[in-house]
C-alpha cells in the first residue's frame, strides 16, 4: 500500500536519512522506532509531505507521492496527527471534526452563510458522520466541549478522531503517546486496534514509547543514524542485540574503583539539590509528576530514560525556565521553587539547555565575557582555555561557525567560568560524533575533580552510567528506577525494560490476526495474482516477503509457486 524506496534526505551537510526503504501493507499497523536523532521524524515528514526527499520515491496505492503537496496527500487518503496537539482549542470537539469533512465535500462560503438548502443538507450529513466517529471513539460526552478544555489524553483521542474524519486509508500517528501516563497509553493501544477494525485504516506509528509500539504494531522498523537498522515483528525486535545496542550504547565492562569509593564517602552528606514531588508541564499537558531526586555536592548524577519521559522538563522546572505546578526544589539549603531563572543561576546552578543555548553571532571570547554579567565581576578566562585549548585558537571566531563539539565546549566553558556549584547538562552528546562525546565525558570527570556537581540528561546510557555516581531512570513522566550507577549498569535488563517495555504481553493480538490471515489465504485466484497481491492480508503478505527475502527470490514468484502447491492439493 505504501512503498518507500531509497529515500535520502539531507539538511545542510547532515544526512538525516540515508537510502531508507519501507513497506506498509493494507490493514497493518507499522511501528517506526529508533533513538533520538535517528531520522524517524524526517522519514515521517517526508511521507506526510512536510519534507522533500533528495532522492528516492514514495508510492501510495500506486501513485507517486514524492512531490505531492500536503492537500493532495490528504485527498489520496493520507491523514496525520501531530506530536504537540494541534487541535483548534476554541472550537467544540464536533466542530473540530467537521472542518476536515467540509474540506472533502467542496462547500461554498456564501451558501453556508445564507443557510441555503444544499449547505443545510451537507451540514446535517457531516454532523451525523462526526457523531458516528465520536461514538466509536467513546467521545460522545465531549461533543460540545471546546477542545482546548479537555485533558491531554482525551485531546489525543480527538486528534485521532479528526484525522479519521478525512476518511483516510493511511493514518500517520506522530508520537501519540507523548505526555500520556502508563494507563492512558494502554487505553490508547486498545483504541488503535478498535480504530483499525472499525474504519479499515492502516497506520504508521512513530513513538518513543516502546510499551505502545510493542503492543500495537504488527511489524516494526528500527532506524539508527538515518539508516535502517533492523525490521521484524515486535517480539524479534525486542531481543535484537543490535537494537539494544542502538538504544543503550555499547556495553562496557570497566569499573573504576576510585569512583565507587568517592561515591560511598559522599552518601551521608546533605544534598546540594533536593527535588520533592515535582510536577510541571506545558499548557494542557502535564509532562512530569511526582519527581523526587537529589544531587550531593560534587556528585555526578545521570537522568536516563526514553524520550518524552520528562527528563528535559524536569531540568527546566528545576532551573526556573518553566514554572513547577506542584512540589518543591531546594538548592544549597534555599527553597528556590518557582524563582526566576536568573536568580537561580546567581546561586550557582547553571543549566546548559538542549541545543546548548549559545548566541551564534557572538565570538567565543565575547560569549565567555558575558559570564561577567552573572558573576558580577570581570572574568578571568584562563581556566576555560586551559580546559579547552582548542577554544583559545578559535577565540575570535563566531560561535555559530564552530563545529557542534566545539560549541558544546563553549557552553561548558561558559558554565565553568561562572564558578557554579551544580551544572545541569541536557543532551550534551546530541548530534556529536562518538570521539567528541568521549572527550566531553572526560571534561565531566574534571568537573567532578573540581568539586562541581553535575546533573546529566543523556541518551548514551552506557557512557552516562560510566561517568555518573548515581542515576535516575525516567518512565512516563516520573522516576521509575534509581540507584548507584554501577548497579544499574550491571543490571542491563532492568534499564532496557524501561526503554523497550519488556513487561508487555502481546501474544493474544497476534494470534487473532494470524487466524484471520489463514482463513483468507486459501481463496486466492492465481489468475488475479497481481491485483490480489495488494488485497492480501498484511500478515500473509509480510510472511511471504520475509520468506522471499530469506530465499533471495522475488515475492511474486514465491507466491505463484505456493499457490500452485495449493492447486495440486
Amino acid at each position: 500500500m505504501l512503498r518507500v524506496r531509497d529515500v535520502t534526505v539531507r539538511f545542510g551537510g547532515i544526512t538525516a536519512l540515508d537510502a531508507v526503504s519501507l513497506d506498509l501493507n493494507r490493514g497493518e499497523i507499522l511501528g517506526l522506532i529508533g533513538p533520538n536523532g535517528a531520522g524517524k521524524t524526517t522519514l515521517f515528514n517526508s511521507i506526510s509531505g512536510v519534507v522533500r526527499p533528495e532522492r528516492g520515491s514514495i508510492f501510495f496505492e500506486g501513485h507517486s507521492l514524492t512531490y505531492a503537496p500536503p492537500h493532495v496527500r490528504a485527498r489520496r487518503g493520507v491523514a496525520r496527527t501531530f506530536q504537540n496537539l494541534q487541535l483548534w482549542p476554541s472550537m467544540s470537539v464536533e466542530e473540530n471534526l467537521m472542518v476536515p469533512m467540509d474540506a472533502l465535500g467542496g462547500r461554498n462560503t456564501f451558501s453556508d452563510a445564507l443557510y441555503m438548502p444544499f449547505s443545510a443538507y451537507a451540514e446535517r450529513a457531516s454532523m451525523e458522520r462526526a457523531r458516528a466517529i465520536l461514538h466509536v471513539l467513546d467521545l460522545d460526552r465531549y461533543r460540545h466541549t471546546p477542545a482546548g478544555d479537555l485533558p491531554a489524553g482525551i485531546q489525543r483521542r480527538v486528534e485521532i478522531a479528526r484525522a479519521l474524519a478525512m476518511r483516510p486509508k493511511l493514518l500517520l500517528l506522530d508520537e501519540p503517546a507523548a505526555g500520556l501516563d502508563a494507563k492512558e497509553t494502554s487505553r490508547l493501544a486498545e483504541l488503535l486496534h478498535t480504530v483499525r477494525e472499525r474504519f479499515h485504516v492502516s497506520m504508521l506509528l512513530v513513538d518513543h514509547d516502546m510499551s505502545l509500539v510493542m503492543r500495537v504494531c504488527d511489524y516494526v522498523y528500527v532506524l539508527d543514524f538515518g539508516k535502517l537498522l533492523a525490521h521484524g515483528e515486535p517480539a524479534a525486535i525486542r531481543n535484537d542485540p543490535k537494537v539494544l545496542a542502538a538504544y543503550l550504547g555499547e556495553e562496557s565492562k570497566k569499573l573504576t574503583g576510585e569512583v565507587e569509593a568517592a561515591a560511598r564517602a559522599r552518601r551521608d552528606e546533605r544534598p546540594l539539590l533536593e527535588v520533592r514531588g515535582l510536577a510541571a508541564g506545558y499548557g494542557g499537558l502535564e509532562v512530569i509528576r511526582d519527581v523526587s531526586l537529589d544531587v550531593k555536592p560534587g556528585e555526578v548524577v545521570a537522568c536516563i530514560g526514553a524520550n518524552g519521559a520528562g527528563k528535559t522538563t524536569t531540568l527546566r522546572a528545576i532551573s526556573g525556565m518553566i514554572h513547577p505546578r506542584r512540589g518543591r526544589v531546594t538548592f544549597a539549603g534555599k527553597d528556590v521553587t518557582g524563582r526566576s531563572a536568573e536568580r537561580i543561576t546567581r546561586l550557582g546552578l547553571v543549566h546548559i539547555p538542549e541545543g546548548r543555548g549559545l548566541f551564534p553571532n557572538i565570538s567565543v571570547e565575547d560569549t565567555l565575557r558575558l559570564v561577567s554579567n552573572t558573576a558580577g565581576h570581570d572574568v578571568d578566562m584562563k581556566p576555560a582555555f586551559e580546559l579547552f585549548p582548542r577554544l583559545r585558537e578559535r577565540r575570535t571566531q563566531l560561535v555559530g561557525t564552530l563545529s557542534g563539539g566545539e560549541q558544546q565546549m563553549v557552553a561548558l566553558a561558559r558554565a565553568i567560568l561562572s564558578r557554579p556549584r551544580l551544572v545541569m547538562i541536557d543532551e550534551m552528546s546530541q548530534g556529536l560524533a562518538p570521539t567528541v562525546v568521549r572527550q566531553l565525558f572526560d571534561i565531566i570527570r574534571v568537573f567532578r575533580e573540581q568539586g562541581i556537581a553535575v546533573l546529566l540528561v543523556e541518551q548514551f546510557v552506557e557512557s552516562a552510567l560510566d561517568v555518573a555516581d548515581r542515576a535516575f531512570v525516567f518512565e512516563h513522566g516520573t522516576i521509575g528506577l534509581s540507584g548507584e550507577a554501577s548497579e544499574l549498569r550491571a543490571d542491563r535488563k532492568l534499564v532496557a525494560g524501561s526503554y523497550l517495555g519488556t513487561a508487555v504481553e502481546d501474544g493474544a493480538a497476534i494470534g487473532v490476526a494470524n487466524g484471520n490471515g489463514n482463513g483468507n489465504g486459501h481463496h486466492l485466484d492465481p489468475a488475479l495474482m497481481e491485483t490480489v497481491a495488494v488485497r492480501l492480508p498484511a500478515k500473509v503478505k509480510r510472511a511471504l516477503e520475509q520468506r522471499a527475502e530469506a530465499e533471495g527470490r522475488p515475492a511474486g514468484a514465491l507466491a505463484i509457486e505456493l499457490l500452485q502447491q495449493v492447486d495440486r492439493q
Partner: protein
C-alpha cells in the same frame, strides 16, 4: 438550528425596532451621531470578522472605509450616479483593496502583519487621501460635496433626511450582522476559526489557506467599505480626516475593548466611538458644585487607553464577552432553580 435562526432573526428585528426609535426625539447633532455610530459599527464589525473569526491583525480598517467613502462620493458628485450604485462601487473597491492587503498576510503574521497594515494606512492617509496626485479620486483638499443624492430615484437631501440615511444604514447593519452571526456557525465560519486556532493543522486538514485568508480580508474590507460608502450621504461631504491613521488604531482598540469575537460588540463600540466624544464636547465643560471643569475631546482618547488596560485585566473577552458570560450563567442558574421547583411540585 432552525429555532436558533428564528431566535436570531427575532432578536435582530427587535434590536432594529428599538434602535430605529432612539434618535427620534434628539436634535440634528445627535441624529448625525447616531448615523455615524452605525458607520463606525461597520468598521468594528469588519474587525470582528478579520480578527475575531480568522485571527488576522489589521490596522488599516479605516482606510477601507475611506476608500468606500471616496468611491461613493466621486461617483455621486461627478457621475451623478444613483446612491445605491455608488455604494455598490464603494464596497467593490474596498473588497479589491482588501484582497490586495491580504496578499502579504499569506506569508506574515502577528507583529509584522500589524506593521504592514499600519504602513498601508499611513500611505493612504498621507499620500492618497491628502495628495494632489489623486485629486480625481479625492476631489482635492476640500473633498467631495454631496448635498443631494438620489436613492432609488428619490431625491434625498442629507441635511433634511438624516433619519432616512440612518434607517437605511441601520437596516443594512442588521442584515450584515445577522449574516455574520450565521457565518460563525457555518462551514465557512468553522474553516475561518480553524485558521485562527492553528494554521498548520488547518492546512493539513484540507483548508485552502490562500483562498480563505484572501476571502477574509476581502469580506472584511467590504464590510468596512459599506459603512464608509454612506459617509458622504450622512455628512454631506468627504474629507480625509475621519479616515486617517488614528481612526484605524481606534477601531482596533475599541474592537478589543468591546469584545472582538462578538458581533453585538461592534454595535456597542460604534455608539461608544460616535456618541461619547460628542457628549464630551457638548457637556464636558461647565461648573460642578461651583468648581469649573473642562473635559475636552482629548480625554476621550485617554479614557479609551485606560479602559483598554482595565478591560485586558478584568474582562479578557471584552465588554460584550463579559455580558454574554454573565447572561449565560444567569440563564443556566435560573434553569436549575426552575427544575428544582418542578421536582418539589
Amino acid at each position: 438550528m432552525t429555532s436558533k435562526l428564528a431566535f436570531r432573526v427575532l432578536a435582530t428585528l427587535v434590536a432594529f425596532a428599538v434602535l430605529a426609535r432612539i434618535p427620534v426625539g434628539f436634535d440634528v447633532g445627535f441624529k448625525f451621531d447616531a448615523a455615524l455610530a452605525v458607520i463606525w459599527a461597520f468598521g468594528l464589525l469588519s474587525l470582528v470578522l478579520l480578527t475575531g473569526y480568522v485571527g488576522q491583525i489589521s490596522l488599516c480598517q479605516a482606510t477601507f472605509s475611506g476608500v468606500g467613502a471616496y468611491t461613493a462620493g466621486m461617483l455621486v458628485s461627478n457621475a451623478h450616479a444613483d446612491y445605491i450604485v455608488a455604494v455598490g462601487a464603494g464596497v467593490a473597491a474596498a473588497f479589491v483593496l482588501g484582497v490586495l492587503v491580504g496578499l502579504p498576510a499569506l506569508r506574515l503574521r502577528g507583529i509584522t502583519l500589524a506593521i504592514v497594515t499600519l504602513g498601508i494606512a499611513l500611505v493612504f492617509d498621507r499620500y492618497v487621501f491628502q495628495d494632489h496626485a489623486f485629486e480625481w479620486f479625492t476631489g482635492g483638499t476640500a473633498g467631495w460635496r454631496v448635498n443631494s443624492a438620489t436613492v432609488f430615484g428619490l431625491q434625498v437631501d442629507s441635511s433634511k433626511h438624516l433619519m432616512g440615511a440612518y434607517l437605511i444604514l441601520l437596516a443594512l447593519f442588521c442584515v450584515v450582522a445577522l449574516l455574520m452571526v450565521n457565518l460563525h456557525d457555518s462551514g465557512a465560519g468553522r474553516r475561518f476559526r480553524a485558521i485562527r486556532d492553528s494554521e498548520l493543522s488547518a492546512a493539513t486538514m484540507g483548508v485552502n489557506l490562500t483562498r480563505y485568508k484572501l476571502l477574509a480580508f476581502g469580506l472584511s474590507a467590504a464590510i468596512a467599505g459599506l459603512g464608509g460608502a454612506f459617509y458622504p450621504l450622512v455628512a454631506g461631504s468627504v474629507s480625509p480626516q475621519p479616515f486617517w491613521l488614528f481612526t484605524s488604531l481606534q477601531f482596533a482598540a475599541i474592537a478589543v475593548l468591546m469584545g472582538v469575537r462578538y458581533v453585538p460588540a461592534a454595535a456597542l463600540g460604534g455608539v461608544f466611538m460616535a456618541v461619547i466624544p460628542d457628549v464630551l464636547t457638548r457637556y464636558g465643560h461647565g461648573t460642578f458644585h461651583g468648581h469649573p471643569y473642562d473635559i475636552s475631546y482629548d480625554w476621550f482618547q485617554f479614557a479609551v487607553g485606560v479602559l483598554l488596560i482595565v478591560q485586558l485585566i478584568l474582562l479578557p473577552d471584552g465588554v460584550w464577552g463579559d455580558i454574554r458570560h454573565r447572561a449565560r450563567h444567569a440563564i443556566s442558574a435560573a434553569r436549575v432553580v426552575t427544575a428544582r421547583r418542578m421536582k418539589v411540585a
